[in-house]
């Protein structure tokens, strides 16, 4: 316990990096995911649809750890040198983007086609119909599966320890190498991860309730 208190600043820094990675990657992932979902639902362009499908298939079908390795250690071979943080955020956002795009696609499709037709018949333009009618309804459906992805992402940030980012997992490994004791540190970060994901869940429940406004 003393060891942990003594190294509290390091844990705080590790937590900061973990949270930072999670939040930034989530925001970027949301944008990527939404873009891909829109292409897959509304686009008529076969090339765009093909690319989106390929992206989802490759990213969902390969381990994040491998993607991270290729981005960080592989790209310098063709002259692209990403900093550890950039490579991590890129890999995490591209990865979440693929998962979120499927979440969004299914939630958009869950809104009955009659809604769109009704909106269009009232004279709304297509983008208006989507923005004001479809999106709010789809968003509520998307929240629970998004929660899964968010919490999954929070924990998967631990993988970026292999590209030298000192997030929570690497912090504990460094401390283990220093103190030669294992369990107190792993248990500490387990608690921190759990608290963080619990906070995430609470926020998501709040958001879901807010969006349920449209139900009533």
């Amino acid at each position: 316990m003393e060891m942990i208190l003594e190294d509290l600043p390091l844990f705080a820094l590790g937590t900061y990096y973990t949270l930072y990675l999670t939040v930034v990657s989530l925001l970027l992932g949301l944008m990527i995911g939404l873009g891909i979902a829109l292409i897959r639902v509304f686009s008529q362009n076969a090339i765009l649809i093909g690319l989106s499908k390929g992206y989802i298939s490759i990213i969902r079908g390969t381990p994040l750890l491998v993607q991270l390795f290729i981005l960080y250690y592989g790209l310098p071979d063709i002259g692209v040198k990403l900093s550890p943080m950039t490579a991590s955020i890129l890999a995490l956002s591209i990865n979440t983007g693929a998962f979120l795009s499927e979440t969004f696609r299914s939630s958009i499709l869950s809104v009955k086609r009659g809604q769109l037709e009704a909106a269009l018949s009232l004279g709304l333009k297509k983008w208006q119909a989507f923005y004001f009618i479809i999106m709010p309804q789809a968003a509520r459906v998307a929240i629970p599966p998004m929660g899964n992805t968010f919490i999954g992402m929070l924990k998967e940030t631990s993988l970026v320890s292999v590209v030298t980012v000192t997030e929570l997992l690497r912090t504990s490994q460094l401390l283990i190498a220093k103190h030669l004791v294992v369990m107190p540190f792993y248990i500490s970060i387990a608690v921190i991860y759990w608290v963080l994901s619990a906070v995430f869940s609470i926020i998501l429940v709040k958001v879901e309730n807010r969006l349920s406004f449209y139900e009533n």
């Binding site: 250690y73 040198k81 900093s83 030298t164 190498a177």
Partner: protein
């Protein structure tokens, strides 16, 4: 009559005991060197997992610097060599239990080990050096680490050395940790860290295979010497090994083996 039988029985038993002892004594008194020559084979314990020192080559044979040294020593003893691949943790136990006659596997000569084993003269000096990009001439000593990014594999002796000895002295440089030495070298090659520290011999296969443009620089940070380890109480074998090592060094065979594996002249 009964007494006679009893007496002869006792004598018989004692005789067995003594003959047993006699056998024991003769085997430990006929020295290990003669035994090796009698069996026409020198059994060598080594890891087989530590390129370029000892490893399985493409033909699945034990190969490497240690293996070549072992072959040459055996040749000079006039016997064949037999490799016994052994995990490092079981190496000293295996030697004590006579699973093999000697260990030639980068075993560093230490005072602690000398209490339980005998060592030949050293057959290689390994050094930890600062490793930098080929074009980097600004880092030559530990003092030059100031303000730089120094990579090292997590949990290694090198990491402990950097953190506990160098960092307090030099101060103010960033230690970047990797899961293994290879990724730290690749990142050094990519220019994302400024230097690392390692044994230049041990990383040579990694450097060659990945075509890394890096070099060692400055004086050795620390050095240790490896020798052939022999069970205690076998001065004849030890003597013969030392003679073989000296002869190899004199006639240039040792140099050839050294250059073959490390591409530099032995010091």
């Amino acid at each position: 009559m009964k007494k006679l039988i009893l007496l002869s029985g006792i004598l018989f038993l004692v005789g067995i005991l003594f003959s047993g002892c006699g056998k024991d004594q003769s085997s430990s008194s006929s020295n290990l060197l003669q035994e090796v020559k009698g069996n026409d084979v020198l059994k060598v314990g080594l890891m087989g997992t530590y390129p370029p020192y000892n490893f399985l080559n493409d033909k699945n044979e034990i190969d490497g610097f240690d293996a070549d040294i072992a072959k040459e020593v055996a040749k000079r003893l006039g016997v064949k060599v037999e490799f016994v691949p052994t995990e490092w943790a079981g190496m000293i136990g295996g030697l004590q239990a006579a699973k093999f006659d000697v260990v030639i596997s980068q075993m560093t000569i230490t005072d602690e080990r000398k209490q339980t084993l005998d060592f030949s003269n050293s057959y290689i000096t390994n050094a930890v050096n600062i490793i930098v990009d080929e074009k980097n001439n600004s880092i030559n000593t530990l003092a030059d680490f100031k303000g730089k990014k120094i990579g090292v594999a997590l949990g290694t002796n090198d990491e402990t050395f950097l953190r506990n000895e160098v960092l307090p002295k030099i101060g103010n440089f960033e230690i970047v940790t990797y899961n293994d030495p290879l990724t730290s070298l690749i990142d050094l090659n990519a220019g994302r860290i400024d230097a690392t520290i390692n044994n230049i011999f041990a990383i040579k296969p990694l450097v060659d295979k990945n075509n890394l443009k890096i070099k060692k620089t400055g004086e050795a940070l620390k050095q240790d010497q490896a020798g052939v380890a022999v069970r205690k109480g076998n001065p004849e074998l030890l003597e013969a090994i030392n003679t073989a090592l000296t002869a190899m060094k004199t006639d240039g065979t040792y140099r050839n083996i050294f250059v073959k594996w490390f591409d530099v002249e032995p010091e």
